[in-house]
Amino acid sequence: MASLTPILRPTSCWKTLLRRSRQQKMCIRCLTTFEPPTVPLPPPPRLPSSYPSPFKLSRGIREPINKIKTYPPPPSARNKYPCPLDEWTAMHLKDLDPTGSRTRLFARNNPDVPNAGDILLVTFKNGDPFAGYCISIKRRGVDTAILLRNRMMVTGVEMWVKIYSPNVTAIEVVKRAEKRARRARLYYMRKPKHDRGSVEGEVKEYLKRRRLIRSGALGVKDPTMSAKRPEQAKSGVKAS
């Protein structure tokens, strides 16, 4: 009797029961990980020969690619100018130093090249001449410059002078250092302990001597006048 009870229930109950079982089935379906092996798709039917295959390059497609005109790369500037910086420097030096005297004066192979520690006198086109100890020389092509240090009325004054500047008319060596400096840059001369003071006396003596030589009173030949090529011998020496 008891087992027959659900059957004897009204049909509406059957509806709920079935609904429940359907939900359970859905849950089971979701949890399954098993997948039946997929059947591979049958190969596509053979296409007519007029339709070109996208994977196979036929002669009909390749030919137009070859017909596109290609151009050679433009001529490389590197081949035209192998050392552009050198040429640029030479171009400017041709204008700034036509005789090449400044270049020769500060060339490293010049036996009389001014060194750090020498006293140099620079004359300007406009402005007073400036003399001082050469503390450092910066060789950078057109930017080549010398650093001069002097004491003017107790105050130390330093000046970088570009040797190729059009404003510079002459660079003269007033006095060589007695002993070769063991440094290339004598920045220690800024310290009071090593400061050598003013070069006024040396410059005055040099100018006096130069005047005597040029007048011929000393009986010494003026090197700038007696040279084979006076224009080139004047390595920045100011013509009197």
């Binding site: 402005g127 400036f130 410059a145 003017m152 009325m153 107790v154 105050t155 130390g156 004054v157 330093e158 000046m159 970088w160 002078v161 570009k162 500047s165 404003n167 800024r190």
Partner: protein, 134 residues
Amino acid sequence: MIQLKTLLNCIDNSGATIVECVRNMGMKRHGGVGDRIIVVVQKARSMGDSGPGNTTATGGANKVRRGDIRHAIIVRTRKKYQRKDGMVVRFDDNACALIGKNGDPIGTRINGVVGAELREKQQSKILSLASMHV
């Protein structure tokens, strides 16, 4: 590079020897040669030198006294500065010359070297007073 609290040597004969910058004129961060600044006199020469009959020797020895606030023109800087022609100039100290509110120098003499930039900055009066310029 003269800025607030920079101590400068005063190289004119106004009586001040050491002054301190308190302001740069013209909304500038740093002052260079030829710039106008406001200074406080920190150290002045002793007042005893300028008695009657001694005026020629001392000039304007007591025109300023310690604590005065004055205008000044920078004439030398330790910081190197470059000119238009490529030259770079540097002095060993910072120095200035005192001027009045109207721009005329207070001292009558400037003993020391000054920068040539003063001419460009329309400070030719100070430049002509100076015995030497670079």
